[in-house]
Amino acid sequence: MALLELYHYWVFAILLMIGFYAVIAKLNLIKKLIGLSLFQAAVFLLYISMGKVEGGTAPIFLDTSVEQLYSNPLPQVLILTAIVVGISTLALGLSIVVRIQEEYGTIEEHEIQEIDRQ
């Protein structure tokens, strides 16, 4: 049980940095975008983990006669909308990558910089 007390935060930190590594070290633009969505997913996980209450349940009143502990609804609301906004901005990023491929013939960052220098 003691392991689980902070394990969610550690997983958040590791996932966040795996995503960040892909963004800064990878040269392929699609790989960078995948890294960015990993980064984003880590933030989602942090918010939802913070909202959890031990012994609580999903914040939906099913049987009001029983006194029940509920998890925090607010982080869930924030992340719910963030996921859909995330996919829309991801699509925008991918469409820019597609246009770069059409103009430069490559989506590798160092090759694009090479072409720009010429």
Binding site: N28, I48, F61
Partner: protein
């Protein structure tokens, strides 16, 4: 038991993420990121976030995989060069990870009911929802009513991103293009996907409507329903060809839905003002304030669902309409 299971799921997340970054075959990477989303959805479910799990499963495992695949079809599925400045990047990443893990010892322990996050406004939302809004799903109540302004903003962000994709890829222009077999035929000649897909599509659509209108009472709402609805139509166009899907829902409708949903949401806000309340105050929409809240939430969730469906499908068609040059 739950503890063991959630540790297993979280560890699987890390393993999948490392595989995603290491594998150079982008096709495999995209498939792994679908698996990652599914694992994340399972984690959300264990953390009592049923609504979020539903959204992540529909959006992350379904639609984003399709978008990545269509982007790969137009670019390349092979990552050429290895990483640049790998050592420096690893040092930065390792240092930051260790710092964050060190900082986590000051965090309130997981699930602690006395943590600051549970003290401020969350109890108020839980209590007030019962009296003022009277719907069982507190997440929907906060999303649609208490924080209606936020959600309106998010809907407009989704709308703007959709318009941005249409501008960049210029899909709606009527320039003639070569139709490949895929565009007109889809997977029609493959028996198993075709039969299974035909059986599933109507039920997925029905489920999307259920999620849309049952959002007040259980997990669900406009964002999830829009994603599921779009996923059903995307499945249909993968199986029957894009042409047939566009015959069912033409592009002009999609543009109309994209704008119409956001306008419906704003119109509900303005209606509140005209009836003497504040912007997005639903209590004045009916004689009884609680009934007014119900009407307002139903309408704005419908607006959200329509916009999300319109945007996701417009984006999908914008990607598939562009040929590999």
């Amino acid at each position: 038991m739950t503890t063991v299971f959630s540790i297993f799921l979280l560890t699987m997340l890390i393993v999948t993420a490392i595989a995603i970054v290491r594998i150079r075959d982008l096709f495999a990477t995209v498939m792994l990121s679908g698996i990652f989303s599914l694992l994340l959805a399972a984690n959300f479910f264990l953390l009592d976030a049923a609504d979020v799990a539903l959204t992540e499963a529909a959006v992350g495992a379904g639609i984003s995989t399709v978008l990545f695949l269509s982007a790969l079809a137009m670019t390349t599925d092979r990552e050429k060069a290895p990483s640049s400045n790998r050592i420096i990047a690893l040092i930065v990443v390792a240092t930051t990870t260790l710092t964050m893990i060190y900082a986590s010892f000051d965090q309130p322990t997981f699930g602690d009911p006395d943590a600051p996050i549970h003290q401020h406004i969350a109890p108020w939302y839980l209590e007030t929802t019962r009296d003022a809004i009277d719907i069982p799903n507190v997440v929907t109540a906060v999303l649609a009513s208490f924080r209606g302004y936020d959600t309106l903003g998010e809907v407009f962000v989704v709308f703007t991103a959709g318009i941005g994709v249409l501008f960049i890829l210029g899909a709606p222009s009527g320039k003639p293009r070569q139709t490949t077999d895929f565009h007109s035929e889809g997977l029609r000649h493959y028996l198993v996907p075709r039969v299974v897909g035909r059986l599933l599509t109507p039920f997925i659509l029905l489920f999307a409507l259920y999620v849309q209108f049952h959002g007040d009472y259980g997990p669900g709402g406009g964002f999830q329903a829009g994603a599921i609805f779009a996923a059903a139509i995307i499945l249909y166009s993968l199986l029957e060809g894009e042409k047939r899907a566009l015959e069912a829902i033409p592009r002009s409708w999609l543009i109309g839905m994209t704008a119409g949903g956001a306008l419906l949401y704003s119109a509900v806000g303005v209606a509140g003002m005209l009836l003497g309340g504040n912007f997005l105050d639903y209590s004045v929409l009916a004689e009884n304030p609680v009934a007014g809240q119900h009407i307002g939430i139903l309408l704005i969730e419908a607006g959200v669902g329509i916009t999300v469906t319109g945007v996701l499908l417009s984006i999908f068609h914008a990607f598939t309409a562009r040929d590999k040059f």
